[in-house]
């Protein structure tokens, strides 16, 4: 493919299909970790880690690289940016909806976290830490299902 024969919008469309390896229902755009995309001779993508020790960081960078190569981009630069630090506020509305459908309660500033299964607000915290650093474990006191909650950061 000739340099410049793809637009920024196209690149964003491609990135919208790159899943987060730990929560594959979310794309890296839904998660809000793609901080900048610029297209000129090649493509530069700036990514930010969710947590300092997020083990998915390298995997995400390599998925982005592969996705762009697959679409014929030859010159790719992946930049890792730390500032401003990622916050759960950057998860898109679409991302929140997908999380809920997947059974993970999206981050909320309210102390009442609804059960993703039965929607009851009668839920309790089991632990502030879950299967990954970004999630807490909760349980529903009505339908008794345990569920994960994407905690605010």
């Amino acid at each position: 493919m000739v340099a410049g024969s793809y637009s920024r919008e196209q690149v964003l469309e491609w990135l919208a299909k790159v899943p987060d390896p730990e929560i594959p229902v979310l794309s890296i755009l839904d998660l809000g970790i793609v901080r900048d995309v610029s297209v000129d001779e090649g493509v530069t993508v700036s990514l930010t880690p969710t947590y300092s020790g997020c083990p998915a960081t390298e995997a995400i960078e390599s998925s982005v690289l592969q996705a762009l190569k697959r679409h014929g981009v030859d010159e790719i630069e992946i930049r890792r940016v730390l500032a401003p630090a990622w916050t759960t506020d950057w998860i898109t509305e679409e991302g929140r909806r997908k999380l809920l459908e997947y059974g993970i309660a999206p981050p909320s500033t309210s102390p009442d976290i609804a059960c993703p299964q039965c929607k009851s607000l009668n839920t309790e915290l089991v632990s502030e830490f879950g299967s990954t650093a970004c999630k807490a474990s909760r349980r529903c006191c009505d339908c008794l299902e345990p569920f994960e909650y994407f905690k605010c950061l």
Partner: protein, 252 residues
């Protein structure tokens, strides 16, 4: 010592603290007292490893001699590490490990908050990233300290002993040497006198809530910040560095 040397030394101290504590925490992975605590410990250790990696990478850029994060972590000897003595102390029982971590996190949170304002953009960015995680860490450790201190007679007694044993290593956190002085004057780095006051009030309040007794004034151990370590660090490094020492340059 010029300002560049101080910044590099300071960055390595922060990195060494994060790495050595994370290694201690990793040693007890799969030995948690309950599943939730097992996950919490592994998650917190992972945060520290991530912070150590970013700090070592930054140190490599500052030094400009091409050393990677792995070179710093795996190819330096004991006397080249500048972590606090507190963090290299053996895990002991759950209460010992918890108290060690609590005393450090209460200091680390305020240190990072201050570093977000420092004049080195690399360090400020890493601190801004890490401070959000460490807030969770401190909350987690405080809850455990209260649960154990205000728990049963046995848990109270044991965690009081942990606190008494660890206390002698807390003085080193606030010792000001040339590196700290240059960081403060040249890079708007942390004011350890102010941080000590914040730490003291945080620890006093939580220890009281845990119905524990704050240890009194006493002799304080020191040396980690100068590379003079307790005998425990060598054993820790021997295990952690084994692979790179045996197969130099091995990669995934």
């Amino acid at each position: 010592m010029n300002r560049e040397q101080a910044l590099l030394a300071y960055t390595l101290r922060l990195a060494d603290n994060a790495l050595i504590l994370s290694q201690r925490m990793v040693e007890v992975v799969a030995a948690g007292p309950e599943l939730e605590e097992e996950l919490a410990n592994a998650n917190l250790a992972l945060d520290f490893i991530g912070q150590a990696r970013m700090l070592y990478t930054h140190a490599g850029h500052l030094e400009g001699r091409g050393r990677s994060e792995d070179d710093f972590a795996f190819m330096r000897d004991e006397h080249e590490f500048r972590n606090l003595l507190l963090l290299e102390q053996p895990n002991g029982h759950f209460g010992d490990a918890l108290v060690r971590q609590y005393l450090f996190e209460a200091f680390y949170l305020h240190l990072l908050e201050s570093l977000t304002q420092c004049a080195d953009p690399g360090l400020a960015d890493i601190a801004a990233r890490a401070v959000k995680e460490v807030k969770y860490h401190l909350r987690h450790c405080s809850k455990w300290l209260i649960r154990l201190g205000d728990g049963t007679e046995l848990s109270h007694e044991r965690v009081q002993t942990s606190l008494d044993e660890a206390w002698r290593y807390t003085g080193e956190m606030f010792e000001v040497d040339e590196v700290d002085e240059v960081m403060q004057s040249e890079y708007a780095g942390p004011d350890l006198v102010a941080i000590r006051a914040l730490w003291q009030s945080e620890v006093t309040a939580t220890v009281a809530e845990a119905t524990l007794t704050l240890p009194g004034e006493q002799w304080m151990a020191s040396g980690g910040k100068r590379g003079q370590h307790s005998e425990h660090l060598g054993f820790l490094l021997a295990e952690m560095q084994y692979l790179q020492r045996s197969f130099p340059g091995a990669t995934w």
